[in-house]
């Protein structure tokens, strides 16, 4: 059997997790022009709380919702209490969110310990399905791919078709001018920050279903999200989708072809995109 279609699908399903994590970051990054280094913390925080909720209720959906809401609230808190006053000072925001990340990492280590945990999901979903040309494939990975696709389309439609979306797009292009037209940009910023964090939290639960949750993943997912956003282009949801798919597929092929250099090749992708198209694949020149 030829394994390449299988590896492609593995890459796309891994990319689905990256997409959910990085779509939030691309909104925050693109709109507010600030880097939140606490994005990985939202990811892991959402994942852990989703794990607790899913284990306690034996309901995977409740786990997903808990992770989403918890990380959203964390994002709202971080924005309203810590960075709202310094929002225009990107260096301060970076440092404050770095502080949140460092404190969050240690607190989560203290509470949840250092062993790997995994979000439980229904036994009925732990089956393989037949896919022509590939053979048996774990159903859960396809479900997660579907969640990411639906979510991506939903976010895209909200951004492209609704009034709120047009405000966000205007804010991405020119925040001061948007503000001058009477839009309360600060509220928009708060909402986007909370939504961005919530998406990271949802990604945490999704990732925790496929892979273990453990300390240190906050850092690695922050890094992957940054790579995706840089490759795809700041503030672009289609860009995040393309970027995640590329990062996922490249890392899976690299793992098969040259496992030792799997990480190197993933970052080489970023280097190549930056060299050829500095604004990212779907990004517009600043």
């Amino acid at each position: 059997m030829d394994i390449w279609p299988l590896i492609l699908l593995n890459g796309l399903t891994l990319g689905a997790v990256y997409f959910v994590a990085s779509s939030g970051l691309t909104l925050i990054f693109g709109l507010m022009r600030v880097i939140t280094l606490a994005h990985g913390t939202s990811f892991l925080f959402g994942g852990y709380l989703g794990y607790v909720a899913a284990s306690a209720t034996d309901n995977w959906i409740i786990g997903l919702v808990t992770g989403l809401v918890a990380a959203g609230l964390l994002g709202l808190f971080t924005h309203q209490v810590l960075i709202r006053r310094f929002q225009d000072d990107d260096m301060r925001v970076a440092l404050i969110t770095l502080g949140v990340a460092v404190i969050g990492t240690d607190l989560m280590l203290a509470v949840f310990g250092g062993t790997a945990t995994q979000v439980p999901f229904p036994q009925d979903l732990q089956v393989a399905v037949q896919i022509p040309g590939i053979g048996d494939y774990p159903l859960i990975r396809l479900i997660i791919l579907a969640i990411a696709v639906v979510l991506g389309i939903a976010i895209y439609l909200v951004i492209a078709r609704t009034r709120f979306g047009s405000i966000v797009r205007a804010g991405v292009d020119d925040a001061p001018m948007t503000s001058a037209t009477g839009v309360n940009v600060r509220v928009v910023f708060a909402v986007i920050f909370a939504v961005g964090s919530a998406l990271a939290g949802l990604a945490g639960v999704i990732s925790g279903t496929l892979f273990p949750l453990l300390p240190g993943q906050d850092g690695s997912y922050l890094l992957f999200s940054l790579v995706v956003v840089i490759v795809g282009g700041m503030g672009s949801i289609p860009g995040a989708a393309i970027g995640s798919a590329l990062v996922g597929v490249v890392s899976q092929f690299a793992l098969v072809v040259a496992p030792t250099y799997a990480f190197v090749l993933t970052f080489a992708l970023m280097v190549i995109v930056l060299a050829v198209r500095p604004q990212g694949i779907m990004g517009r020149p600043a």
Partner: protein
């Protein structure tokens, strides 16, 4: 003007700092009597072995409690002992930063640790440059560490090639596995661990159907699993901590039917006690290492397990890391008791003589050191079984006494190791 001032000031500051260093160095080395002992502990608190710090503290807690102390310190013959902890993420770089901080900033007399293989190799190299500090290894186990010629570095447990002793023969002759596929993390510990297994397995007549050396911290094994050739009898899993847990749970969802052979840390209690549903693939896995099965009946083992489970954040049974940290830390404490807390000068010579001569019966059997300050220990082969209540545990297959280190070190290899 400002830069001129800077230019003039710099040498003065440098000279003052150097003088300060020399003076403090003199006072530490020159004084004959040891008034205080500071032990710096290195352990992982991030990455795939993030539970390392809790396990280190549990081990030190058991050991210190026996002399009336705590994980933060105690006293031996009137000499106070302080223990400070420094967390790492299991990589060389973080171990380098942490050990330098312990020695250069905290001024510790003894470094205890680290957890992971690459960290160990880094710490040994650093030990060569700081002969005045004594190093007792925690659980890092590449073969080459005690062959590097650092006579201030002591290891009170086996290396990772020793841990596989007997498993290759067992897999080939008893289990009848003729062709094995190897999946292992890409760093020093799995090289030696897999090297130890495959050199024996290949010598017995076995074949390797492929090697996948994956980066540490890989979470998605789906494509690696897809590559396992159909004509493979068993899969060697040289992964540890969260990586092993990831692999095992994905092997279940991907429907892997092949029996597994575990590297030393693949089917440890840390993986088996996780809440992922791995029984389907984990049961029947054979592995070799310094950890006996729970049915092991030595009194020292039973005492240790009873004390271990009382520690905060302890696993249901001790992991390989707490056992190695305990055996090593207790060796250090016994040597400190032997010299009544007096390290000796120059270069802590009394402590080192006591460490070298130490012989005691640890929970996992007698420990003594060879000429390279490397332990001669007992080794165990185990198999994963499902308990009556459905939980996963291990059963001991065999025990080998007095296993000594070979001198062969391994690098990444394709097929059989050379």
């Amino acid at each position: 003007m400002k830069s001129l001032l800077k230019k003039r000031l710099l040498p003065v500051v440098a000279i003052a700092a150097t003088a300060g260093l020399v003076l403090s160095g003199c006072s530490a080395a020159g004084g004959g009597e040891t008034k205080e002992i500071k032990i710096g502990v290195l352990a992982t608190d991030k990455g795939n072995l993030a539970f390392g710090m809790d396990e280190a503290k549990a081990a030190i807690g058991v050991s210190m409690a026996a002399i009336g102390g705590t994980i933060d310190g105690g006293e031996i013959d009137g000499v106070p002992i302080t223990i400070v902890y420094e967390g790492t993420d299991g990589t060389s770089a973080s171990a380098q930063t942490a050990v330098k901080k312990l020695v250069e900033n905290d001024g510790v007399d003894i470094v205890f640790g680290p957890v992971s293989g690459d960290e160990g190799e880094t710490v040994v190299q650093y030990a060569l440059t700081t002969p005045e500090v004594t190093y007792v290894n925690g659980s890092a186990s590449p073969v080459g560490m005690t062959l590097a010629g650092a006579d201030n570095f002591f290891r009170f447990h086996g290396d990772s090639a020793m841990w596989m002793g007997g498993l290759g023969d067992y897999a080939y002759n008893e289990k009848g596995y003729k062709k094995v596929y190897a999946i292992a993390e890409d760093y020093s510990f799995p090289y030696d661990n897999a090297g130890g297994f495959f050199s024996e397995f290949c010598a017995a007549g076995g074949d390797v159907t492929g090697n996948a050396w994956v980066p540490v911290g890989t979470t998605d094994y789906s494509s690696i699993i897809a590559q396992i050739p159909a004509d493979t009898d068993a899969v060697y899993v040289g992964l540890g901590g969260a990586d092993a847990a990831s692999f095992l749970s994905q092997a279940v969802t991907a429907g892997v039917q092949k029996p597994l052979i575990g590297g030393t840390i693949a089917v440890d209690t840390t993986a088996l006690s996780g809440d992922a549903n791995i029984a389907e693939v984990a049961v029947g896995t054979i592995a070799g290492g310094p950890v006996p099965g729970p049915d092991y009946d030595s009194p020292e083992w039973q005492t240790f397990v009873a004390e271990y489970v009382k520690q905060p954040k302890a696993f249901p049974s001790p992991s390989i890391f707490s056992i190695l940290y305990y055996n090593s830390f207790n060796s250090l404490l016994l040597a400190l008791q032997e010299v009544k807390g007096q390290l000796g000068s120059p270069d802590q010579k009394d402590l080192r003589a006591a460490l070298t001569a130490l012989e005691w019966t640890s929970p996992t059997g007698p420990i003594s050191l060879d000429g390279n300050r490397q332990a001669i220990v007992d080794n165990f082969l185990i198999e994963v079984v499902q308990g009556a209540d459905g939980t996963l545990t291990t059963k001991q297959i065999s025990q080998t006494s007095g296993v000594a280190q070979g001198t062969k070190t391994y690098d990444r290899f394709e097929g059989c190791p050379e």
